[in-house]
Symmetry: C2
């Protein structure tokens, strides 16, 4: 049967995949993987191949985007093919074109979900999912854009939290870090002067969500700039209006200063 | 060691858990589970116990909310305890109080993430994650509220999509269905007359996200009202402004009418 199954690898390492994903991989005729849309810091292809008993062909951005995933589509036309993607497969929009092309060629597609950085970071923070507005990615300085600042501003005006993901250039092993991102936002603040991201704004830094030892730290931008979050991946949350349970969670799980309590109505 | 590990069961059935979650469960001294915050339609406790080799104690809402999870906390004070939760453990905010109480008692807490209905539905739809605004839950008719209507309206005014989850009363085996939710929204439209949810509005219905055969259907509210989505869990997406790739995805994956193409700039 012509079939292409997109399987989420989940977070962090080869243990992030679901039992269903493992099963699908073991029964695939061909197995591909990409590791450039998200960083899985402790992922070992060797261990993964050992667990699944499959040889995995790791694809580059060039294979998938310039060559439109031809190698994957050809395999899927000859039998069940599994394509492994970090996190939940379609949270990055990169692979929608591949799924569309597969459908067009009469290849049946399915998705086996994995845990996503989005729900992981929200869950770790103790902030309430339904109080998050639009998510945004902060680009590297050379592609600097005011969009993230505008999104944070819009969300704040609605009382909503903003999850900021960090740009990634996995092929160059470059991952935007929290302090770089904050400096980029402070520069934009300097030009706009709306008081959206100042040195005194509350922000939550998150590093290595999904690993055994994620780091969370909530404090003012000024202090978070000097905090050592260690290795990537890193992310930021700019809180909007906080409910008192959310404040307690930030104090307990992210070491927020107790003075934050007095800011809540 | 005093330790409480919150483990996400992921979606649909006992195969939704990650390999890391399985490992943590196998090595736990005590194992608890709740199955009321989200519906896992094909979950078998017996199969799960077989896979993990553990006896699992299933807790009710009363155990966790009225008795503040005392039974879980007591176990965690005596050694590593795993608490299994559908989806990603903290996407429902129900268990934050338990995590806070554990920390207060000096019990170390950790989270092993699972795939969440949130990222699953967004991924299945082919709509772009960063174009979603605030998420909302539509309550049953007896608790009817204008909040979902207002959230859809606010998101639409910003060009953003709205993910609407459905209320659930697992203890009574009641799950709000797509047609009931749409009728509730149409009633609110009748009172407000803002043209936010009319019979001609585009909407995407999703049933059993995370199962092997999820159902997606995009069409007008009028037609979706008559569409048979089968068993719960069900959800809705009200699209905001659509990018042409998103339209192609809705046509290909959700059977949206091809005429939708002409609506995109």
């Amino acid at each position: 049967m012509k079939e292409l199954v997109f399987v989420g690898l989940g977070l962090n390492d080869e243990m992030g995949i679901s039992l269903r994903g493992l099963e699908e991989t073991k029964t695939a005729r061909a197995t591909f993987m990409e590791l450039y849309t998200n960083l899985m810091p402790n992922f070992s292809i060797k261990n993964f191949e050992y667990i699944t008993g499959k040889h995995v062909c790791v694809l580059s951005r060039r294979n998938l985007e310039e060559e439109n995933g031809a190698i994957v589509l050809e395999a899927a036309e000859n039998g069940k093919t599994v394509f492994l993607v970090p996190g939940d497969p379609f949270i990055a929009t990169t692979h929608i074109a591949l799924r569309l092309e597969a459908q067009k060629r009469g290849i049946k597609t399915r998705i086996v979900h994995g845990s996503s950085i989005i729900s992981a970071i929200i869950g770790l923070s103790g902030l309430q999912n339904y109080k998050f507005g639009k998510t945004v990615t902060i680009p590297f300085g050379e592609n600097s854009s005011e969009t993230p600042y505008k999104v944070i501003s819009q969300n704040k005006s609605l009382g909503l939290h903003t999850l900021c993901l960090m740009d990634i250039k996995a092929d160059e092993k470059r991952f935007l870090r929290i302090n770089e991102a904050l400096n980029l936002l402070l520069e934009i603040e300097c030009r706009n002067k709306l008081g959206i991201v100042t040195e005194d704004s509350l922000v939550v830094g998150v590093a290595r969500a999904g690993s055994v030892m994620p780091i969370l730290k909530a404090d003012t931008v000024k202090r978070i700039l000097r905090y050592d979050f260690g290795e990537p991946p890193q992310s930021l949350i700019f809180p909007g209006e906080l409910h008192f349970t959310e404040v307690e969670a930030l104090v307990a799980f992210a070491g927020a200063p107790g003075t934050l309590r007095s800011s809540v109505r």
